[in-house]
Symmetry: C2
Subunit: 132 residues, 2 copies
DNA sequence: TATTAACCTAGTATGTCAATAGGTATTTAT
DNA sequence: ATAAATACCTATTGACATACTAGGTTAATA
């Protein structure tokens, strides 16, 4: 399941893309339009700023803004950032994950195939694909 | 992420398919081969019996057995049973889920497309595809 | 200087996950 | 009959994540 962190982040990105007029958009407005707690969004948006997905500006006239064109964002990078991983199992999510059953594991190929499919799906989708 | 419930259930099914000799296979043996706590497996296997995925027999000489040929099981039904749902979001997992943003939700089509892809992937895989 | 906004630290209720513990009921072999 | 092996049942637990809420400080602008 995709958590609210990932889902809300996606909606913030869509909101920023749709309401872009060159200036910063206050979180208050986004929260109102999206009907999401502003306080909760603060936490999510902070991570998005830290990851250079968006830029924030304090003070009057401040808010948030995209820092690339909408078609330069993939849904995958947004979700992966917020969810930590898109992998279905720990052995694929964590490169350094130790599992001594790795060689004989009969389900690993299944998870690998699934992982690749999911990755390709979400990284193939761009922010622009979600608009309008 | 697929939980241990789903992953272990899949491994139990594979183990039962591979070690099938006509008689019942005790959980003790499965737990040993798969290196999984027998006590924990009991909980998982109970649900599998209740869902008629496998049959159990008490007493000496008892154990568990598949009740169909391995190619008649899809990975999807096993995982969906154990995980509750394979859907990425609550609005798709629960048919009666109320969401008043449904009509205007810009991410719902994404989740629907993803959901279909995941469903088709796992229901297309049979237990036999995981063996050998 | 007042206002508006981001940014920061902390806390919290609820639920799920991944087990563990200790029993009872059932069947078969001796 | 009895012993052994097995499934089956109920309850509990520690750790962690999720989805928030609360109350402040800093920064920028009109």
């Amino acid at each position: 399941m995709i958590s609210t962190r990932g889902r809300y982040a996606l909606r913030v990105m869509i909101d920023l893309a749709e309401n872009d007029n060159g200036s910063f958009i206050p979180l208050k407005d986004i929260a109102a339009r999206q009907e999401i707690s502003k306080k909760y969004l603060e936490i999510i948006v902070k991570d998005m700023v830290n990851a250079n997905l968006i830029v924030g500006a304090s003070g009057k006239g401040g808010g948030y803004k995209l820092c690339r064109k909408p078609n330069k964002y993939s849904v995958g990078e947004i979700l992966e950032l917020m969810e930590g991983t898109l992998s279905p199992v720990a052995c694929l999510a964590d490169k350094n994950h130790a599992c001594d059953r790795k060689e004989k594991c009969q389900t690993l190929p299944l998870w690998e195939e699934f992982d690749t499919m999911v990755h390709d799906f979400f990284y193939g989708k761009k922010l622009t694909d979600l608009i309008k």
